[in-house]
Subunit: 366 residues, 2 copies
C-alpha cells in the first residue's frame, strides 16, 4: 500500500497535520489518479531528514517499514547515514492496557512537554496486532486532537508488518530517523498486554506504565512482569469519585514496590495519580520523568542502558534470524509437528526431539 504522504501533491496535508493516516484522506483525493512517485536517492532522504523535512522523514519511515528488499537496502543506507545525528533525544515508553486512556494521556503529556520544555516530539508505536485491527493504537486521530495538529509533533502509527520482532525493529529504526530530523523527545506507545512491553522497554530511557485503579485490591489489567519494568507508574482517571480509589491504589503500589530492592538504575519507581482528561497531575509526572533523566545521566546509568540496548538489539536480531532460518527450513517444517507430538506423548525426551531436528537441519546445511 502506498501512503498518501509519499505523493508530492499531499505534502501540504502531512506537514500541517504531522499525522500519517491513510484512512483520513478524503474519498475525493483517494480516487484521483496519483502522480508517479519520484524516487529519492539516499542523499535526498538524508538531507531532507537532517533539515527536519517532515514529508521526507515520513517517506523514509515508510521505506523502513517496507517489505520490499530494495527498499530495505535503501532504508539501511539512510539509517546508517543518520546514525551520527541520532541518539540525542529522550525516549519515553508509554504503556497501558486498552481503556487506560493512553491516547488522551499522550495528547496531554505531549502538549505539556512541548510547552514546558520546547523542542520537537515524535510519537511512535509498537503494536504487532495492528495489522489485524488496522491500527488499534494511534489510529484514532481524534483522541490526540491537540497533538495531531501541533506543528512540532510528528505522530506515526505502529508498523504493521509481521512479527513483534519485525515491528519493534522498524520502530527502533524510525527512532533513529526522527532523532536525526531533530526530534528531541520520542514517545513510544505500546498496548500493555505483554511482549510488546519488553520490546518497548529495550528501546527507551524511561518506561512509564499507565494504570487504572481497579475494583477491590487489584489493579486492572496489570500483567505480571510489566510492573517490574516500569520506571514510573501513573494511575489515570484520578478525578471525581475516582480520586480516592486512585490514591489508595497508588499507596498500595508504593508499598508493593518498596518490598523489592532498588533497581539497577538506583531509582525507585515513583507512583503518581493524574487525570489525562482534566489535565490534573500532568506536571508532576513530567517533573518526575525529567528528574529521573537527570539522575541517571549523573550516575552514568543513562549511557549504560543505551549501550546495553544496542547490544540487546544486535544479539536479538541475530537470534531471530537464526530461528527464522531454522523454522522456515522445509525439512524442519515437515518434521516439527511430529517431534513435538512425540514429546507431548512422552515417547521421546525434549532433548532427543531437539537433537533429531538439529541433526536434520545441520546435515542438510553443511
Amino acid at each position: 500500500m502506498e501512503h498518501p504522504e509519499n505523493d508530492a501533491q499531499y505534502k501540504g496535508l502531512t506537514v500541517n497535520a504531522g499525522i500519517v493516516q491513510p484512512d483520513s484522506v478524503s474519498p475525493y483525493l483517494k480516487n484521483r489518479p496519483r502522480r508517479k512517485r519520484e524516487v529519492l536517492s539516499v542523499n535526498d532522504y538524508v538531507e531532507g531528514i537532517l533539515k527536519g523535512n517532515i514529508t521526507i522523514l515520513s517517506q523514509a519511515v515508510t521505506l523502513v517499514e517496507s517489505l520490499r528488499p530494495d527498499h530495505q537496502v535503501l532504508a539501511q543506507e539512510v539509517i546508517e547515514k543518520c546514525l551520527p545525528y541520532a541518539g540525542k533525544s529522550v525516549r519515553i515508553g508509554i504503556s497501558g492496557v486498552p481503556g487506560a486512556g493512553k491516547s488522551t494521556s499522550i495528547d496531554a503529556f505531549g502538549i505539556h512537554v512541548l510547552k514546558e520544555y520546547g523542542g520537537k516530539l515524535a510519537v511512535l508505536a509498537i503494536d504487532p496486532s495492528s495489522e489485524r485491527s488496522k491500527g488499534s493504537i494511534l489510529g484514532d486521530k481524534t483522541r490526540m486532537e491537540r497533538l495531531s495538529v501541533h506543528p512540532d509533533a510528528f505522530i506515526r502509527p505502529s508498523p504493521t508488518a509481521g512479527s513483534l520482532g519485525g515491528v519493534a525493529r522498524k520502530t527502533r529504526e524510525s527512532i533513529v530517523l526522527c532523532e536525526a530530523a531533530g526530534f528531541d523527545k520520542i514517545f513510544v506507545e505500546t498496548v500493555g498486554v505483554g511482549q510488546s512491553e519488553t520490546a518497548c522497554h529495550s528501546m527507551v530511557d524511561f518506561f512509564l506504565l499507565i494504570q487504572l485503579a481497579g475494583t477491590g485490591d487489584e489493579l486492572q489489567g496489570i500483567k505480571r512482569g510489566i510492573m517490574e519494568m516500569a520506571d514510573g507508574i501513573v494511575i489515570n482517571k484520578a478525578d471525581g469519585d475516582n480520586i480516592e480509589p486512585a490514591r489508595l491504589a497508588a499507596s498500595q503500589l508504593r508499598n508493593a514496590i518498596h518490598i523489592f530492592p532498588t533497581p539497577e538504575s538506583g531509582w525507585t519507581p515513583h507512583v503518581l495519580t493524574y487525570s489525562g482528561f482534566f489535565g490534573n497531575g500532568i506536571k508532576e509526572i513530567w517533573d518526575m520523568v525529567y528528574s529521573y533523566i537527570a539522575f541517571v545521566k549523573e550516575n552514568g546509568y543513562f549511557d549504560y542502558r543505551r549501550n546495553e540496548q544496542s547490544k540487546y538489539w544486535m544479539y536479538e536480531s541475530i537470534h531471530e534470524r537464526l530461528r527464522d532460518n531454522f523454522y522456515q527450513n522445509p525439512l524442519i517444517e515437515s518434521m516439527l509437528q511430529d517431534e513435538e507430538r512425540a514429546v507431548l506423548e512422552g515417547r521421546i525426551s525434549s532433548f532427543i526431539a531437539a537433537k533429531h531436528l538439529l541433526d536434520a537441519y545441520f546435515e542438510k546445511k553443511l
Copy 2:
C-alpha cells in the same frame, strides 16, 4: 574426573549415604589404585534403575553429566528407555538466596514429607556456579544430616558442567532417571540469584521461594522477577525475636501479591512463616504444597504446565544449539568483537552489525 561411586568398591558407601560427594572420600581411599570400572550396557542401567538400585541410578546420573560423546549417546538411550516409567512424581523447586537456610530447610522438609506421605525423595540441584565454588549447594553434607542418612532419600549435588543451559538440562534428565527409579518426590534446589530460577521453574510443578525477613521494609535478597514465579513464599527463621519481623514481612508480601491478578494456575501464592532449624511451621508449608497439587490436578493446570515445560525444553534446546553453532563459528568469533564495538560507538546500527555477522555465517555455511 571419575566419581568414586562409579567404582564398585565404594558401592556400600554411596548406597548407605545416598550422597555423591567426591570430596568426602577419605585420603586413604582416594590414593588407592582404582579397579577398572565395569562397563554397563543400556539394559543394565535401565534394569538397575527400574529396580530402584541407587548405585546404578547414581552411575546413570554420572553418565548423564559426563561430557564424553560416547557417554552422552549411552545416556540418551538410557533416558529414552526410562521415559515411559517417569513423570509420576511431584516436582518441587526450592529456591532462596545464600543464607536463607536452604539446606537446613530441605533437611526438615524432606524428613517431614517422607514421614507424612511415605515414598522416596530425590534432592537434585541446579547451580551453574558450582564448578568454580566446588559444590556450593548440597555440598555440605552436614547441613542435611538427617536426610543424608535416610534410606529413602537420594541427594545429588548440582552437575558442574558448563553453562546454565547445560547444567539445567542434566538436572532435568536426572529427574527422569530418579522418577523411573521410583522416586515420587523430587526437590530441585537452586541458589536464588536469577537465571537458575527460570530454569528450575521450568521443570517443577511447584516453585517454593525461601525468604528472610529483612531490615526495614525490604525482603533480603529477593530478586525482581523471581517472586512472580513462586507458587508459595515461605519466610524462614521465624523464631525467637524474629517471629514478629517475619510475620510483618509475610503480611507485606501478601498485600503485594494481591495487587497482581491471579496467576494462570488459578492459585494465588500463599505466604507462610516457619523455622527450619526449630521445625515450626513445616507441616503448614507441606499442607499448602499438597493442596496446590490437588488443586491444579483437579483444574487441569498440572498436566498443562508439564506439557508446556516439555515444549519449552525442546525449543530451548534447539535455540541453544543454534546459538552455540553460530558463536562457536571461527569466522563469527573473529568478527564479533569489532561489530559490537562499532555498534557501541554508534558507527553502525545494531541491525547492520547483525546483518554483517549473519551474512558471513550463512554464506560460509550454504
